[in-house]
């Protein structure tokens, strides 16, 4: 049976880790969404140097392990483990979000942009008011997947002493030697975060499909 005393005696550590995991995930979620949208727009903008820049970022970051990016962020900058980990996660996740959003924008029929431009809107306005609102609906499911991955990837904060759930789990298992059970509880705490996220994305998907 599971050793529940591990959970009860170390509840403070688990909750502290959970708090940091939530905060880091939320900040990285917001940051990577903004950065990712910007990158997606750059990649399809009618201006070549921007395309190149966006493509270079996505191809470069997407093909480096996130663990390496987190290490770079930690060792290169003057940040603590949690900040560096969150920055690393944001940089990494943004590349995937950019791709998801770009695919969404591309799937909006060309005529939409042409019609919007012919009413006198600038490219930026047409993008913001006509294309992106339609694209968002298409990208909700892939974005949801990226955010769930983001929460799981936040466990990498543990290697830079970020104080997250995984880090606390490491310390508890090292202290008690009850390795297996400790990580079962760690897994359950992650599930508490990811399952609602997963169900929420499903719900949103259904709502948006109806309004379409």
């Amino acid at each position: 049976m599971l050793d529940f005393s591990i959970l009860t005696t170390n509840m403070d550590s688990f909750l502290e880790g959970l708090k940091i995991t939530i905060i880091a995930s939320l900040i990285a979620l917001l940051g990577s969404f903004i950065l990712g949208t910007l990158l997606a727009v750059m990649r399809i903008a009618p201006f070549k140097p921007l395309n190149w820049l966006g493509t270079a970022y996505v191809e470069f970051i997407r093909n480096i392990p996130v663990l390496v990016i987190v290490f770079f962020a930690y060792l290169a900058g003057n940040f603590g483990g949690m900040t560096a980990g969150t920055i690393g996660l944001t940089i990494y996740t943004a590349a995937f979000i950019a791709e998801a959003i770009r695919a969404g924008i591309m799937s909006v029929p060309r005529g939409q942009m042409e019609a919007a431009r012919s009413t006198g809107l600038t490219y930026g306005q047409a993008m913001r008011m006509v294309i992106l609102p339609q694209a968002i609906k298409i990208v909700i499911p892939p974005l949801g997947n990226q955010f769930i991955n983001l929460v799981k990837n936040s466990s990498l904060l543990a290697v830079v002493a970020g104080g997250d759930l995984m880090y606390q789990g490491d310390l508890i298992s090292a202290k008690t030697y009850v390795t297996f059970d400790t990580y079962v509880f760690v897994a359950l705490f992650y599930l508490i975060l990811t399952i609602p996220l997963s169900l929420g994305v499903g719900y949103l998907e259904k709502r948006l499909a109806r309004s379409h």
Binding site: L2, G81, D170, L171, Y177, V184
Partner: protein, 268 residues
């Protein structure tokens, strides 16, 4: 649409069930498998030692040869030869402070010779041999640091340590005000120190000497503030293997072979 929803829910429920079952299963195997390690070694004609791969002087993987080298490795080889003669092969598997007890208990390694301090707490989990090396915990700082001893560790100082090591527990007792950041292994902790992520790195002096040797801009300060007797750990209940190791250790010490190995690695 609705069918896939249902499927997703089913998958979630079964995944959770699987985790719980695995939890129970994992527990059972770790307490059940009590096969005698000594007999197994003789049967397989090989003994697997768990050693560090990232600790200069004790166990360090040499990138150019791919071999692990150090005091712990040479001592393990000598002990194996002393006990089993030439026909049992010595194999080395990497362990870290975090993984070594787990690997011992699930039978992946037969004996841990990895700068492991004998403590009362650990004796409940594994069996130890006699002391094979006497170390003591100390501090490594950048030369010219304002930290000169453990008394200088205050609220605003950050001390780097390694997860699962006795030094991370000790430093919290000896300097309760200071912030302790814990890393996966010594290489990462030392990298963090070099990158200025902390004011001092704490662990056994024997390991710190290896780091200071690698990068002379760092130095040990304040002497030692704990005693860290290293022992060889084996899975609980293998008293016969412990006896054999103790006998071998004693005869290596008597024959001068132990000192020969020690002098080769530890110069201080």
């Amino acid at each position: 649409m609705f069918k896939t929803k249902k499927f997703v829910k089913m998958a979630l429920v079964s995944a959770m069930a699987a985790i719980f079952l695995a939890g129970c299963g994992g527990d059972k195997t770790s307490t059940d498998s009590s096969k005698d390690v000594l007999a197994q070694i003789k049967e397989d004609k090989k003994v697997v030692f768990g050693v560090k791969h990232d600790t200069r002087l004790f166990g360090l993987k040499n990138p150019s040869t791919g071999e692990v080298e150090g005091f712990d490795i040479d001592l393990s080889k000598a002990l194996a030869e002393e006990i089993f003669g030439k026909d049992v092969k010595s194999e080395f598997v990497e362990v870290t402070s975090k993984t070594r007890v787990g690997l011992l208990n699930n039978g992946k390694v037969d004996a841990v010779v990895a700068t492991m301090t004998i403590t009362e707490e650990r004796k409940k989990e594994v069996d130890f041999t006699d002391v094979y090396f006497d170390a003591g915990q100390s501090l490594l700082v950048k030369k010219g640091s304002k930290i000169q001893s453990i008394d200088d560790l205050k609220k605003d100082t950050k001390v780097l340590a390694v997860k699962g090591s006795t030094s991370s527990i000790n430093i919290r007792e000896k300097a309760p005000e200071t912030t302790v950041l814990e890393f996966e292994n010594y290489a990462e902790a030392f990298t963090a120190l070099k990158a200025g992520k902390g004011d001092a790195l704490t662990t056994d002096d024997s390991i710190l000497y290896g780091m200071a040797e690698e990068d002379p801009s760092f130095e040990l300060v304040g002497g030692t503030f704990t005693e860290e007797p290293y022992g060889i750990a084996v899975k609980k209940g293998n008293t016969e293997l412990v006896d054999e190791l103790n006998k071998a250790l004693k005869s290596l010490k008597d024959s001068g072979k132990y000192d020969e190995i020690k002098d080769k690695w530890i110069k201080n």
